[in-house]
Amino acid sequence: MTLDEIFGLYNYWVVICLMMTGFYIVIARKNLIKTVIGLNVFQTSVVLLYITMGKVTGGTAPIIPPEIAAQHGEHHEHSTAHSTAHSTAHMTADAPHLDHATEHGHEAVTPLTQHADHVHQTASAMADHSTELIYSNPLPSVLMLTAIVVGIATTALALALIVRISEDYGTIEEDEILLIDQRDSSH
Amino acid sequence: MNLFSPETIIQISLALPALGIVLVLLTGRFPNLRETCSLAVAALLFLVNCDLASYVFSGGRPSWRAGQLMPGFDVAFTVEPLGMLFALVASGLWVLTTVYAIGYMRGHHEKNQTRFFACFAAAIFAAMAAAYSANLFTLFVMYEIMTISTYPLVTHHGDQNAKGGGRVYLGILLSTSVAFFMFAIAWTWKIADTLTFTQGGILSKAFSEGRVTEFELAILLGLFAFGIGKAALMPFHRWLPAAMVAPTPVSALLHAVAVVKVGVFSVLKVALYIFGLDLIRDTGAGEWLCYVAAATILLASLVAMTKDNLKARLAYSTVSQLAYITLGAAIAMPQSALGSGMHIAMHAVGKITLFFCAGAVYVGAHKTNISQMRGLGRAMPLTFAAFLIAAISIIGLPPGGGSWSKWLLALGAAQSGQTFLIATLMISSLLNIAYLIPIPIQAFMVPPGEKPMPFKEGPMLCVVPLCITAIGSVALFLFADSIYACLLPIVQ
């Protein structure tokens, strides 16, 4: 194991430690709320794992600086035709996208040809511009947004169940609940 | 009568019992109508089978492929002489059993008669389908259907006794069939790539190609012999006596018509058409089976002697007689195999008579134990006369049909050169005499100091069938030659 590896992977290892701490709380603790807390820690750590994957050294957040975005955004406001053409075009996934959109612009509405070309040019200009910036991968973020929401939904449900259990049994310690159940069934 | 092609007749004779189930269930509220339907279907089935028999015994091999249960596993039927004989016996005796059952059930005011007759028809359906089956897979399916459809019959009384008997019945039959029989079939399929019954066997080719060793063959035969629990080879015979909790017509069905006969029939089929007699003989795979069968014959006879309950004694007698048939398959000489085939018919007719008699005594005089039947012969002369004739047939003395089949078995044993088997057959015949003959003899002899009982036979519907079957076993003695001729193709 080289130093390089350690430096390249220590992030993951810390995250794994966090995950395992959460996992340990879930399986070792008998208090129901503590279990849920453990679950929370576990899930949060998994979120960290994903986010770690998306990071690029020297990258920035996947939000395109407003000036570039605005530059592009201006164009579509003029060209509804472009948009329609585009909407049909983007379904052909294989062809390079921009070219395709432009072609459609040509075929569909001749007067707009110039405009479509213009779009093409600005788009490539923008592409040049954007190479100066390195963005971290947005996909893990998106996945984790979903995962966080799923997590809070689960937590809410679990806590609701705990409230019911605590009302019905008068305790939230799993051992005691099981004892009560045993006593019930032996009656 | 050439209204239908033989293929159609196969369909008809499978459809008839199925129709019987439906009719019985539909007419359940009207006992007379219900039993008329039951009888009519049984009679029709017998007639149809007679028609088919004339075709099959003259060399025809009609077949019908009903469909595919799974890719590669057909449900198909082909009628060959052995199956035809079994089907004839089963359908013929179904008519008589139905008549008898009507008398018995009414005489006894049994409950749930509709369920009884429906399950009865279902069992016959399974017997027919098993008799005609063209491959081992179909045979197995029908074998299992029969187990399930006879369970309600065995537990007909629905009390704790019935529950216990039913447990043993279902437990042994299902576990042997699933653990051994099914495994053996799948294994055979792997070795031979087919399960179709073929003259001369399907495994001989695989053996000659080296796909299976002698040792494996012996194990396979064992899996079949024990897996077919209905053949009641010891130590898997316990279900038969346990099933005696059932009403007597059911016992008749179990011991003569359907269940045990499907068992030994399957053993014979496997020996003839899966292994092939030559293969069993040449590889010595059947040798150990001979010993087991011989042991079963003797032990069961000995146990039978200790039983005072008539039905229990008959049950052990059946265990012993079934082992004869298995023995014939294990010896694997043409003569012995023919003897086994004939014994299916001979024993069926003889044993059903004995059970009919037992039932008639129970209905007429409410006696179940042999010790109570002393002197009963005066009161029920027809019944006990029939008993005597049937007993003679079972023992294998002329003029009972059983003499021929036992003669052929002994011939086969002699050909194979295994003298101890001949000895076994002789000793067992003596034992048969010892446990069967005293019953009618004692019944006719009134001990001194007792008044002869008044003449009181069982119900008409019980006595007539048993007389017919008793005559039948004599008739089989007279016409054994033609049966022999009919069966001959199976070993050629």
Partner: protein
């Protein structure tokens, strides 16, 4: 680098504290802190959207919910009596497996890892033309490219909402008493 090591250390310390502490109030609070630290680290890792959400949810909503539950169900944890050898073993095995798994992974921040290079052109470039210049690519991905996942996510939230109603709202027709919506149940009773 140092900031991230600092935060990571804090995260580990917090996690262990949560595992060891017996007072549930404190544990809940530490969970909030844990989420918050996590959010900070996410910010460093260029995921502001996730950081924002984690802060709002982990440090906000779930802490609040847990406190609410504690108010209803009791605050202290009974010390665990059963042996923790089996859980520790399970956790150790799982953790070891994971660490073993990381050995072949692309290193942290590697621009040539499959995650960064597989999709070409990347979402950043593609979304520009597809979305007519929507600046926040995460939103574009969330709502359009993977909009279906988000529909699923909304359905999950919906499910949780309905589930909580089903579990906690007391019904008013004889099965269980104590209706939560007192005013409502009164008016219903009135109308009946």
């Amino acid at each position: 680098m140092f900031v991230s090591i600092f935060i990571l250390t804090l995260l580990v310390v917090t996690a262990i504290t949560i595992a060891r502490i017996g007072d549930l109030w404190a544990a809940v609070m530490f969970t909030g802190i844990f989420s918050f630290l996590g959010a900070c680290w996410m910010l460093i890792l260029d995921a502001p959207d996730v950081a924002f959400t984690e802060a709002a949810v982990g440090a906000g909503v779930s802490t609040f919910l847990m406190l609410g539950t504690l108010a209803l169900a009791g605050k202290t944890e009974k010390p665990t009596t059963s042996s923790s050898v089996v859980p520790l073993f399970v956790v150790a095995v799982t953790g070891a497996a994971l660490i073993y798994g990381t050995l072949d992974m692309p290193h942290f921040g590697d621009p040539n890892s499959p995650v960064q290079t597989r999709i070409e052109p990347s979402f950043m470039e593609k979304s520009q033309s597809d979305m007519h210049g929507l600046p926040n690519v995460v939103t574009a991905l969330l709502a359009s490219y993977r909009g279906y996942d988000t529909l699923g996510e909304t359905a999950v939230i919906f499910t949780a909402g309905i589930a909580v109603i089903l579990i906690l709202r007391r019904s008013n027709d004889g099965f269980k008493s104590n209706d939560v919506f007192n005013s409502q149940s009164n008016s219903r009773k009135g109308s009946q």
